[in-house]
């Protein structure tokens, strides 16, 4: 096991300096995510422009994988519509959970999360933000849990 496979520079950078960190006043959707096993908590809020995510912010505390994944996600989904985000989540999910598959290079910076699949205990760290975003998009306000 090489630590650099998990903690790539992109991940360490986004952990140190998370992008789109904070909250949106009067968001169109907001959800809380909680991983009771590690105590990770984050909230995701979105401002919509029709079907499109015009702005997205997240805040909370978690491990480097969870924080970097959320930061990378906000960059990746900003400006995309719901359908494109759903498709992107499916590709990220496959990246995180299919150890044998080739890395989906089309994912850009998100591909830095591919090392997570060698660490089954950490998959939920990386996927928590996506489940939380889904909840924010679907229900307006909600709480999701990994358990």
């Amino acid at each position: 096991m090489d630590l650099k496979d998990l903690y790539r520079d992109v991940i360490l950078d986004h952990n140190r300096q998370p992008r789109n960190f904070g909250r949106i006043e009067s968001p169109d959707g907001r959800a809380e995510g909680h991983n009771p096993l590690c105590g990770d908590r984050l909230s995701v809020c979105v401002r919509m422009d029709g079907e499109r995510v015009a702005d997205i912010r997240f805040e909370g505390h978690g491990c480097a994988i969870s924080t970097a994944s959320a930061s990378l996600m906000t960059e990746a989904v900003k400006g995309k519509d719901r359908a494109a985000i759903a498709a992107l989540f499916a590709r990220v999910h496959a990246l995180l959970t299919q150890p044998q598959a080739a890395v989906d290079a089309g994912l850009g910076k998100l591909a830095a999360l591919s090392g997570v699949r060698e660490f089954p205990a950490r998959v939920k760290c990386a996927s928590l933000c996506w489940h939380t975003l889904n909840a924010a998009l679907a229900h307006g306000t909600a709480t999701v849990s990994t358990e």
């Binding site: 096991m1 090489d2 630590l3 998990l6 903690y7 360490l12 952990n15 140190r16 096993l37 590690c38 105590g39 990770d40 908590r41 505390h61 978690g62 491990c63 480097a64 994988i65 969870s66 660490f119 950490r122 760290c125």
Partner: protein
């Protein structure tokens, strides 16, 4: 204050005259310690979660399986008698280990959790009601919280929690204030699994008895590090697990005072816990079999007895002294690292060092330490209320056992230094 109370239990720094442990020889008894983890020699600092098993235990279990296995208490054939002798011999071994009065007071369970649940269901739930109270402490493991919440929800009794301070010490005066005429049962950890605090259980038992309450002590983290003398301690119930004492998983013990166990109804029904069964009426077996429905974990009990032989062979005082040396060494080393904060700094501690690293989540720390072959526990340690009180989501926890060395401490410190470099 709790810090000024000298617990009667001997989890305190052991007396200087304790013979020094021959750790190199001890390590030779544990085959798993030769494992390479991620290409590095294993440094196993997670014995508080589960200790490794020495050859003596592995061999005893294998010998039982190859020479004596059959079901117990049933057959007249030779193997059944041999198995029964091994199983009941193990019970006597446990009685002697704990200095309990009688083997009737020793109930085999799956572990500490099952032992506590047995008392919760067969004792507390039968007796408690509205206006009555169960008292626990802020330091408890979930296994000594949730069973009592289940009792509370079924009986309408109240669950009170004696607070601790930031160092992880019980607030003795607050404990006494909460102990009153309504308190029917006090359930406390002997040693905190998350922080390592040794609780003043003898004083707690005496105070609880003076208030007319019955006391259960969760000894899961104490038994590997201290000699427990139940007649001196006076606890009404005492629970522990084999696998933290170098025995296999799936075997544990509930000690209960005979008068209490005798008055309790059975918990689970089935074979072995009966004397006679008809469709109209069943006569329950005598103690302790009344609480051991079904075929028990015979080989686990054999392994537990072998583990008790093993630790008494090394000497519990020598083990405790060795662990205290490592704890002091590791505490001093980690205190020198400005980015490490120790969590749980009670005056009396046993073999557990919990800590956080500034800016690094415990799980990332655990992963980076694992990459260097160092196994520590990370997370809330099944003690979420402890974490909530301290305002942290998780800690990393290094715990020490008879087979750990000063080199293990050095490897931990080096791995922490490396982790710091990765994240900053």
């Amino acid at each position: 204050m709790a810090a000024n109370i000298s617990p009667v239990s001997r989890a305190d720094p052991a007396p200087a005259q304790a013979p020094r442990l021959d750790v190199a020889r001890v390590r030779g008894d544990f085959p798993i310690l030769g494992t390479l983890v991620n290409g590095q020699p294993l440094v196993y600092l997670d014995s508080a979660a589960s200790a490794q098993e020495p050859r003596q235990v592995l061999r005893a279990v294998e010998t039982y399986a190859t020479e004596s296995h059959a079901n117990v208490h049933r057959g007249v054939h030779a193997l059944s008698q041999a198995a029964t002798a091994a199983f009941e011999g193990a019970r006597e071994r446990v009685r002697r280990f704990l200095n309990a009065r009688a083997v009737r007071e020793i109930v085999f369970t799956r572990g500490t959790t099952e032992a506590i649940n047995l008392v919760a269901q067969a004792y507390a739930r039968e007796r408690l009601g509205p206006g009555e109270e169960i008292l626990i402490t802020a330091l408890e493991h979930h296994a000594n919280i949730v069973p009592w919440q289940m009792v509370r929800d079924r009986t309408g009794c109240a669950l009170k929690v004696a607070p601790m301070n930031r160092r992880g010490e019980l607030l003795w005066d607050e404990f006494l204030k909460l102990l009153g005429p309504r308190t029917r049962l006090v359930a406390v950890a002997h040693v905190s699994n998350a922080l390592g605090t040794v609780l003043p259980v003898k004083q707690m038992v005496d105070a609880a008895h003076a208030a007319g309450a019955v006391v259960l002590v969760d000894g899961a983290q104490a038994v590997p590090h201290t000699r427990v003398d139940l007649q001196a301690l006076g606890a009404d119930f005492y629970a522990f697990s084999g696998h933290k004492l170098y025995a296999p998983t799936g075997i544990g013990v509930l000690y209960g005072r005979e008068e209490l166990l005798g008055a309790m109804p059975p918990w689970q029904g089935g074979g072995d816990m009966i004397l006679s069964v008809s469709f109209e009426k069943t006569t329950y077996n005598e103690l302790p079999y009344k609480f051991e429905a079904g075929t028990p974990n015979i080989s686990g009990a054999v392994g537990l007895a072998a583990a008790m032989d093993y630790v008494e062979g090394l000497g519990l005082e020598a083990i405790a002294a060795h662990e205290q040396r490592l704890l002091a060494l590791a505490t001093a080393a980690l205190e020198r690292l400005p980015y490490i904060e120790l969590v749980g700094t009670a005056a009396h501690k046993a073999a557990v060092l919990s800590f956080t690293m500034t800016g690094v989540h415990a799980h990332d720390l655990g992963t980076v330490l694992d990459a260097q072959g160092v196994a520590v526990r990370t997370g809330h340690h099944c003690a979420m209320p402890v974490m909530t009180f301290l305002g942290i989501p998780a800690t990393a926890r290094a715990s020490f056992a008879c087979y750990n060395t000063e080199d293990d401490v050095a490897r931990l410190v080096a791995a922490l230094t490396r982790a710091r470099e990765v994240f900053l």
